[in-house]
Amino acid sequence: MSRSEFNIEDALAACLEGLADGQSLEECLARYPQYAGELAPALVLATRLRAETWPVLSTGARFRGRERMIAAFESRQMAGAWWRSVWGQVGLVLVMLVFVAGVWLAFPGRQLRMHNRPASVPGLIPAAAQSATPIPPAPTTQASVTLTSTLTPTATSTPVGKVVRISPIARTLTGLSLSAQSASADLTRTATPTPPATPSAVPEAALEEPAGNATSRPPDDGNCEPGPARSPEPTRDAEPTRVEPTREIPTSEPRETPRPPRPTAEREPTSVSETAEPHETAAPPEPTDDVEPTRQPATNEPRPGIPTPRPTARPEPTDTATGATPEAETRQTPESHATGAPPEPTSGSEHSWPQATPEAEDHSPPEPHETDTSSAGAQHR
């Protein structure tokens, strides 16, 4: 490149700057007269190029180009996210492997010790197994289940007493650490008689009272009529002292309302020998004896003038009692056996018998519902 060419390049650049600043072509060429012949066509072409309307993107092409770019951007973002997740998982696995390898290398003899451990202490596991067997959790569970099943019929008074009796058995079973099978068998045995709720009370009371434990025996549970059973006048045979149950009968929940011990010595002597409240003093359940009394009352149920007390008030759970009749029925029937005569509808209280308590106080027929059960049990026995 010669010096003149270099100069003409500078002259061309200077002339283009002058034209851009508003100078005319002649003014620019006048500054560089030695290159005027060569600069003139170049400046004309440059002016033409600058005067050209250079194209721009059409609206459609601009929109399409933008859309393509956005689509590419989104696809790349998704692909990047996928690869990031993949590499993240791979990295996590590698980190875990490195960690495990580091731990393994840090404790090289660990595996041997772990393998030798059982052999070094051979007696531990058998001893533990032996100690574990006597106290399995199963008996306790079984006992609780049995209790639940017996608790279900608590609508009547008698099953409540049964529950009280079973719970100590369960406790005993647990305390003695019996096997699960023996515990369940015992519980089943004890629980079986309870379902016939009303009749079961009869023999129990009958068993207890001959023994004369009615007063001495502590109440099993506060739910079961604490008063009457502990009353100091347990006249067993002839004295119909406890007549209160008559009040309970109309109300569908006799046992729940604690009745104060009413030594009704001045009461009319009924034929019923035993007082009520056999439940508290009930002896250990004997299943076979209980069942029978319940059947008989069913036949005697329909009395001509007496409406059946069965009605609505008492929800009688039939699940435990095998064919158990409502309590009212069972209580009525023994009455016939004990007294030997049906309840006399003398005072017109018959109609109101299941409900009206004052009348029941006056007349014996309604009363025996509790007492007659015991008497019935005694008779059967």
Binding site: E9, L12, A42, L45, T53, S58, G65
Partner: protein
């Protein structure tokens, strides 16, 4: 140069785009779409192809921008030069494909642009004046860049030097030779 954003704004814009901000890409498209299209059209002389290639440039931008290192000294000029380089590479690929296709189709030989020379169209715009566009297309690549930067984008010598990474004297020399060759191409003889 007609860039509407400053160097600081360009740095922030590029960082946002590199971090995956779609709005930053949209802003870059608005800034450079017309420039890239003009460059491509000036070198191709065909609007449709130039439009398609312009879109391709920005699709490729999304792929290669994360690896672009922002130059803090002259971020606008550096990025512009880099983006023009991307367009030039795409154009080279286009020429390569076209050449391969011409080898396969012998009849395309009669459709060469040089056959359309006609002095009457010189008064038209560059889009209509295909002779001028074709003449620019015949220049060497650097001379083309200088012509486009200097006359289409109205850049100064120093700005073109920055864009092309050359000295101002080298740009002046390229400018002089580009105009001389262009005049020779456009002359009827």
């Amino acid at each position: 140069m007609q860039d509407v954003c400053t160097d600081a704004q360009m740095i922030a814009l590029l960082e946002q785009a590199k971090s995956g901000d779609s709005a930053a890409y949209d802003r870059l498209y608005s800034l450079y779409a017309d420039k890239i299209f003009r460059y491509l059209f000036a070198r191709l002389g065909q609007r449709e192809i130039a439009e398609d290639l312009t879109a391709d440039v920005f699709v490729r931008l999304i792929r290669v921008l994360p690896s672009y290192r922002v130059v803090s000294a002259r971020p606008v000029a550096s990025f512009s030069a880099w983006l023009y380089r991307v367009a030039a590479n795409l154009l080279t690929d286009h020429y390569r494909r076209q050449r391969h296709r011409q080898h396969l189709d012998i009849d395309d030989h009669a459709e060469s642009p040089s056959d359309d020379h006609s002095p009457d169209v010189r008064a038209l715009t560059l889009e209509q004046d295909r002779s001028l566009a074709e003449a620019i297309g015949r220049l060497a690549e650097e001379q083309q860049m200088v012509v486009i930067y200097r006359f289409a984008e109205q850049c100064s010598v120093q700005e073109v030097a920055d864009l092309m990474g050359k000295t101002a004297g080298a740009v002046k020399a390229l400018q002089f030779r580009a105009l001389a060759n262009l005049r020779r191409i456009l002359s009827p003889e």
